[in-house]
Symmetry: C2
Subunit: 411 residues, 2 copies
Amino acid sequence: MALVVKKFGGSSVATTEKIMSVAKRILGEKKPDDKIVVVVSAMGDSTDNLIKLAEGIDEEPYKAGYSRELDMLLTTGEQVSIALLAMAFQKLGQPAISLTGGMVGMRTNSVHTKGRILGISPERVHEELDKGKVVVVAGFQGVDRFGDPVTLGRGGSDTSAVALAGALKADACEIYTDVDGVYSADPRIVKNAKKMREITYFEMLEMARLGAGVMQPRSVEMGQYFNMPIHVRSTFTDKPGTIIREDYTLEEKDFEIRGVAHDQKVAKIAVLAVSNTPGIAHKIFAALADANIDVDMIVQSIRNIDKNITDMVFTIALDDLPEAKKVVDKVAEEIDAGTVLVEEDVAKVSIVGAGMLGSPGIAARMFGALAHAGINIDIISTSEISVSCLIKGSQITEAVNAIHDEFFPDK
Amino acid sequence: MALVVKKFGGSSVATTEKIMSVAKRILGEKKPDDKIVVVVSAMGDSTDNLIKLAEGIDEEPYKAGYSRELDMLLTTGEQVSIALLAMAFQKLGQPAISLTGGMVGMRTNSVHTKGRILGISPERVHEELDKGKVVVVAGFQGVDRFGDPVTLGRGGSDTSAVALAGALKADACEIYTDVDGVYSADPRIVKNAKKMREITYFEMLEMARLGAGVMQPRSVEMGQYFNMPIHVRSTFTDKPGTIIREDYTLEEKDFEIRGVAHDQKVAKIAVLAVSNTPGIAHKIFAALADANIDVDMIVQSIRNIDKNITDMVFTIALDDLPEAKKVVDKVAEEIDAGTVLVEEDVAKVSIVGAGMLGSPGIAARMFGALAHAGINIDIISTSEISVSCLIKGSQITEAVNAIHDEFFPDK
């Protein structure tokens, strides 16, 4: 007997036919005594359709004042898919029950549309499992202390599934997705990318932070918090995927780095001719922080040592660029700086791996691989388990392949 | 200052434009200190669309086993409309909040898809009203003792609104609908039908039972229970409609009957040549009751007094006919009766009014009006405050007009 939490995303339940397929697959794999909890997202593009409805009331439904009502609206998406999936199990002769986020005791704060899980009291889930039912749970949602529905923001259904698995002390947590695991690089741009059997929470978080899209960082953090291994696998095949866990269980550690991540959704801002006096950098970055804009790589380079003038260069998420430009222009005028330049044709390529700690040669090999491929490095930044380079955006495919070839040569 | 509960049906909130119109109309009429609660149904045909989705899983989603999941599915319809209407108020600068059936403390039994309200604990509604918000409530739904959503069945949103108004001790309960009040006969078939200013719960219940479609009986019963006057009025005009209340407040009682109701959705079943021995009638009607089929008018007529054989004739709702025919055929065989005849071209016309108690001439005038119009009466039945005649279905328009002309002559 095993208690397993399985999560299926919106594309896996986009139509009633697909919902029947999910139910059939789960029952096909279920052993008689297994206890199964299925967490699902809203059907296909139903969330987008709900947002379109809201746009019929106001073109900007994401404005702060609407966030509670937007959550009231959006949580209906998962409520529809759980009802239909529970019916599908019943149609196949398997007792099943659907439960909303509130019913599984998923307590959140009151930050609507971007809620955080505060705790889970899944007594009802245990009760229903004990009655022999498959329990179908609405992902992406919880309720706050007022009993109001709150959505968890991007990737929230994964977070729901992992947190619920942790709170239930499940034997496994399986995230079904349209890729069949975590790869050493994005398989869409690196042909011989290798699927990993395992990866640590720590490395997966760093991969995600640096652009690997498989899992949202918050669900990985949730796995780490509960020490709940997360099995990322394909909706379409039975093959094992990648298990994200605390440490490696296999004697598989014959790699120098764990993977190559990349991120094309970055932009560079350069504030030229800034007076190099205390407090100036603070002014720029405090203004950005006030506008809720994350700054990633930062370089300060001396332009004229006599006049004590420097250039301040940094990167931000591409989505934040319009807002960031406004903020920086304003500060630049206040501090009497020179031109503010913006560059959108940039991308970040990174290597990740706990193994590189204490192996200084690894970063050098990365730079060498880029140099060999004729790719210029604009900015470099490092963390304990990663090295990142900002390069020209149009060269990103070449860059990722060059670095991957260096560390994962085909045998 | 007045606390008013207003209910708008699905056609009034069928699109986001209509939702904006409802919000504008309510704010246009609202005095600064008024406390407004708006109960709404699901948008237009959204409930039908949800049922179509369920039919993608099983062609018969109304099968008993699915009823809980069907409620989980259907309650999303109102949740969508309350979120959008609350956003519409906010867009217009009016603070507002949406609340589901569960959040307004609408407690029901666990009879899914046909729930009954057990009690209401509307503390949250008072709290939000005290904050100056318009409170937008999902009609048609409550939660049972497990916290599971339960829908109230046909006309459930009216029932929600009246019950909530009662529990809140509201100053008024207004039901907005596509007709502008209750008429002395269906204005679609009687040109000079008169709008009533007032009608009693008792008479309205009888009118509804006998086919007047304006209000579902349960919502009227709820008004009676709470002694909450119900103002039925038009979504499209500002004119006063009809107030359903305990007794007349106006010196308006210059009528002999209150109205003429009719029902075309009836069918007649005749079981011929039944042995007139004790227990035989019971066998037929017990079998129908077991199949959950209501029998309305019943006539037993003697066919042959020597052989002690009678004919048993009764009416049922047209929708129940296929099932009823099966049940009756089976019993007829068991009791060795003759032919079972079915007649669909029948209709029932009724007069309603508390005033007819103790005025025996009134029924006679009804029969006379029908006779004058050349309409044959098949069955007659009476209650304390009504007289009903079963006639040929194709003559119903003539019949209603003839009776209406008799009691409500144009001056």
